[in-house]
Amino acid sequence: MEILKIEDLKKYYGKKSSIITKAINGISLEVQNQEFVAIMGASGSGKTTLLNCLSTIDTVTSGHIYIDGQDITELENDELSDFRREKLGFIFQDFNLLDTLTIEENIALSLIINKTDPKFVNNAVKDIAGRLDIANILKKFPYEVSGGQKQRCACARALINHPKLILADEPTGALDSRSARLLLETMWEMNENLNATILMVTHDAFSASFCKRVLFLKDGKIFNEIQKGDSPRKEFFEEILDVLTLMGGDLNDVK
């Protein structure tokens, strides 16, 4: 079953009279339930714009985006808020945790916003925190824990609502390599064991190699697409590097 379907999506910047930047120039793709997809591309390839459109925090120029069967390009402001709240989960590069709330409360925030019965909140938070291995830091404030722990907290917040789709924007961008690896393993487990559908935007081949499928963007279009299949992660990583070389992207973008 498909969770996400994008039909000929276009996003242009600039006024009519002046030069137009075609950030996304006709992208179509589908993401199935329980998939773990990475979207790769160099800076300026349109991957962040795509994610913003999917996150419903940016509008599209033309085309359609269906998430869970609903065309989000036709929703109004308040409906979009409701949609984000009910159907989407987010993991951002800079964590986006509220510094005045504890880790526990940050995770609970998602449930509170969804007006979950207060009775169930505590147990739900404990449950998800246990799965993501952050149960021991629940009472701490974001500034008291490491970046990796913060990002796992963000994952927990994204997961706790059982969203249809989790959108991750460079989730390892602010982490050291060890924490990054731990987080990616966590995300892999989220996908594998908790049946979460995840769409991750990254320019890091190592991160992408944890996914089941990788899409490559260039100049606002899909340049290539590879499947992991049954091959081991290391092999898949090599494969991704090959495509990147083929694309001729700046090698600085490849870690």
Binding site: S55, I57, N77, D78, S81, D82, F83, R84, R85, E86, L88, F90, N96, L97, L98, T100, L101, E105, A108, L109, S110, L111, I112, I113, T116, P118, K119, V121, N122, Y143, R157
Partner: protein, 674 residues
């Protein structure tokens, strides 16, 4: 080059500087306008007592300078924080601290000078308004006349200079102590936190100190007539001050703990978000909030006392002398037997004065009435004896009587209703101050025997008692026939004049009559007692109006400055939050909270910011009003006047406060959406 850069910076951050400018311009305008009226010759010449107005304002100005200095220092600190990154970058680029300090200094002097110039115009306008109000109190016609005096301008400039030197020295020290890291990462500094245990202890201690302070305050006004009342009074002020700071520091955490303990509250709506933000705020700026609460308390107290004073002084004139002139025709202390009753000298003086009054201001109506005593034997005075026994402190000499017909005529002169008495009844009218003792007497047998007949008390009241009716605190009104065999204690003339009595007429009358001096002998020694033989309403009125102006204006001045300071600092704080919290609202928005819900949350946050520092002050204001009423009770116009005064002051306070709140909320929403 540097000044060019500085000017350009000011231009760029003009919006941020707007609050700062409005703050200092308004404060300076207030200071300037009050100085203008304090030194205004038109006002000081209104009455001889108005000279004191100048000194009252000068004294109050000392406090005002201190508070305004604090405010400007605070706003400057705020501006400094806002631009810390800019200064940090300058330093990183190799500009010396000295240069940066000079830059900041230049900007502030530039803005300060603009504020000073502006405040001279606004202050002049304010002062015209204030003069009009004072003239209105004195019922004088007021013509707008701009007279520029050099003294108030110089005095105000000195104040401004003082404030600025203080503030600039502080900012110089601040810059000196900063290093690049601090400047670049000032916003990242974490809040200092008290431990949970300290907080709850602070909360408990502060609450009990507050309770104790209020009790002591009440006690001080219970023994208000004794000189020792100052000890509990100042102690209570100290305790209340400590408790205000203590409670402000600890209540945020207390609320938070309460919210965290109850899951139903914690996970409902935006409660968690708001209380967390709030307690973080109290954690970082608790002392400032405490000072704001203290200033709010002072504002409310100033307004309340000012309103009570105004009412009391206005009412006092009517209690003391509602007639234009009351003068003694003859005076004796112990009735007809006193030799002074035949004092030929005084009789002559009375005649002369009476003629003078008739000639100068005309007599519209007058009543000469007698005050009687039953006998010179004090044992015959039933009420006086009983009063002396229940009171213990005061000794009441004799019961004074007045004919019913005279009493009714006196009432009629004041357009008040007349009373009727049956043959065996009398009416007891007494001064409010004696209420407690007369209440006690109510249970006792108050029958009075006159000419072999027994009269019982038909009614006793303290309402509308006029103290210039006679020389005592109470009066027995009896049917006319009973005074036939009594001795005349006093003969008094109550006069309403045709024309208004001016200050010059008052002076001349005083000189004409002078005081009556009687010699009486106590324990073999002769004492000379001076008696006020004439009371002129116009004179009392002038005195009281001066007192009203001096008290009310000084207190209102303080109140206005305080509330402006509280409003401005809260406004600045909240608006800077808007920028800081933008990130938080963005997260909420991304997580799917509707725009409207976020606006609601903002409204709640701004409301909490504004309500928090005034809840405890309001509570203190309400409770202390009941204590203060012990002082004002005797001289206030109506039974519940103090409640009106309280209501009025709270209303005025909330009105001004509300304007700040509204402006802040609108600004907050605007800042957020930018």
């Amino acid at each position: 080059m540097l000044s060019k850069l500085s000017l350009r910076n000011v231009k760029r951050s003009l919006k941020d500087y707007l609050i700062y400018m409005v703050t200092i311009t308004l404060s300076f305008s207030l200071i300037f306008s009050f100085n203008l009226i304090a030194f205004s010759r038109d006002l000081t010449e209104l009455s001889e007592h108005m000279e004191n107005f100048k000194y009252a304002i000068l004294f109050v100005s000392m406090i005002v300078i201190f508070v305004v200095g604090w405010l400007i220092n605070y706003t400057m600190h705020f501006m400094f924080e806002k631009r810390s990154k800019e200064f940090g970058t300058y330093m990183l680029l190799g500009i010396k601290k000295k240069e940066i300090n000079k830059l900041f200094l230049l900007e502030n002097i530039f803005l300060g000078s603009i504020a000073v110039v502006l405040s001279f115009f606004i202050g002049t306008l304010f002062s015209i308004l204030l003069s009009a109000i004072i003239m209105n109190i004195f019922e004088m016609p007021y013509q707008i006349a701009l007279s520029i005096h050099i003294t108030p301008i110089l005095v105000s400039l000195t104040y401004f200079l003082f404030i600025y030197i203080f503030v600039l020295l502080r900012s110089k020290r601040r810059i000196k102590k900063m290093n690049i890291y601090d400047l670049l990462y000032l916003e990242k500094q974490n809040e200092q936190k008290m431990s949970k245990k300290t907080r709850s202890w602070t909360f408990i201690l502060a609450s009990s100190l507050g309770g104790l302070g209020l009790l002591l305050f009440d006690y001080a006004f219970k023994i208000v007539e004794e000189p020792t009342m100052m000890i509990p009074f100042f102690l209570s002020i100290l305790l209340l001050g400590i408790s205000i700071y203590g409670l402000t520091l600890s209540i945020g955490e207390f609320l938070l703990n309460y919210c965290l303990k109850h899951e139903k509250i914690k996970y409902k709506k935006d409660n968690l978000f708001i209380t967390r933000n709030f307690s973080a705020k109290v954690g970082t700026m608790g002392i400032t909030l405490g000072t704001l609460a203290l200033l709010s308390t002072l504002t409310l107290l100033c307004l309340n006392v000012s309103a009570s004073f105004k009412d009391a002084f206005e009412n006092q004139v009517n209690t003391r002398i509602p007639y234009d002139i009351v003068m003694n025709k003859i005076y004796s202390e112990t009735g007809a037997l006193h030799p002074n009753i035949q004092n030929k000298d005084y009789q002559k003086k009375y005649q002369e004065s009476h003629e003078y009054i008739e000639k100068r201001v005309g007599i519209k109506e007058e009543l000469i009435y007698n005050i009687y005593v039953k006998s010179v034997n004090i044992d015959d005075a039933v009420i006086a004896k009983k009063l002396s026994s229940v009171n213990g402190k005061l000794t009441f000499q004799n019961d004074l009587f007045i004919k019913l017909s005279d009493y009714n005529k006196l009432q009629k002169m004041l357009n008040r209703s007349e009373i009727t008495l049956n043959e065996n009844e009398y009416f007891l009218h007494y001064y409010k101050e004696l209420r407690n003792w007369f209440e006690q007497l109510k249970k006792e047998d108050l029958n009075v025997e006159i000419n072999g007949k027994t009269l019982h008390c038909k009614e006793m009241t303290d309402k509308n008692y006029v103290s210039s009716w006679n020389s005592s605190y109470y009066l027995l009104v009896v049917p006319d026939e009973y005074v036939n065999n009594m001795l005349i204690e006093n003969a008094i003339n109550a006069i309403n004049t045709e024309k208004e009595i001016t200050t010059s007429v008052v002076e001349e009358l005083k000189n004409k009559v002078g005081n009556l001096e009687i010699t009486s002998s106590i324990n073999g020694e002769d004492y000379t007692i001076a008696i006020d033989t004439m009371i002129i309403r116009a004179e009392v009125l002038a005195q009281n109006r001066s007192a009203i102006t001096i008290f009310s204006f000084s207190l209102t001045y303080l109140a206005l400055v305080f509330i402006a300071v509280v409003g401005t600092i809260l406004s600045i704080q909240t608006l800077s939050d808007a920028t800081k919290y933008k990130y938080r609202y963005d997260i909420l928005k991304k997580l799917g909270v509707r725009e409207k819900e976020i606006d609601k949350t903002i409204l709640k946050q701004v409301t909490m910011n504004f309500i928090f520092p005034i809840v405890y002050p309001l509570l203190i204001a309400v409770i202390t009003t009941f204590s203060l009423n012990r002082l004002f009770f005797n001289i206030s116009s109506e039974e519940h006047t103090y409640l009106y005064s309280l209501g009025n002051s709270i209303f005025l306070f909330l009105l001004i406060y509300g304007i700040y709140f509204l402006a802040t909320y609108i600004g907050f929403k605007k800042n957020k959406s930018e």
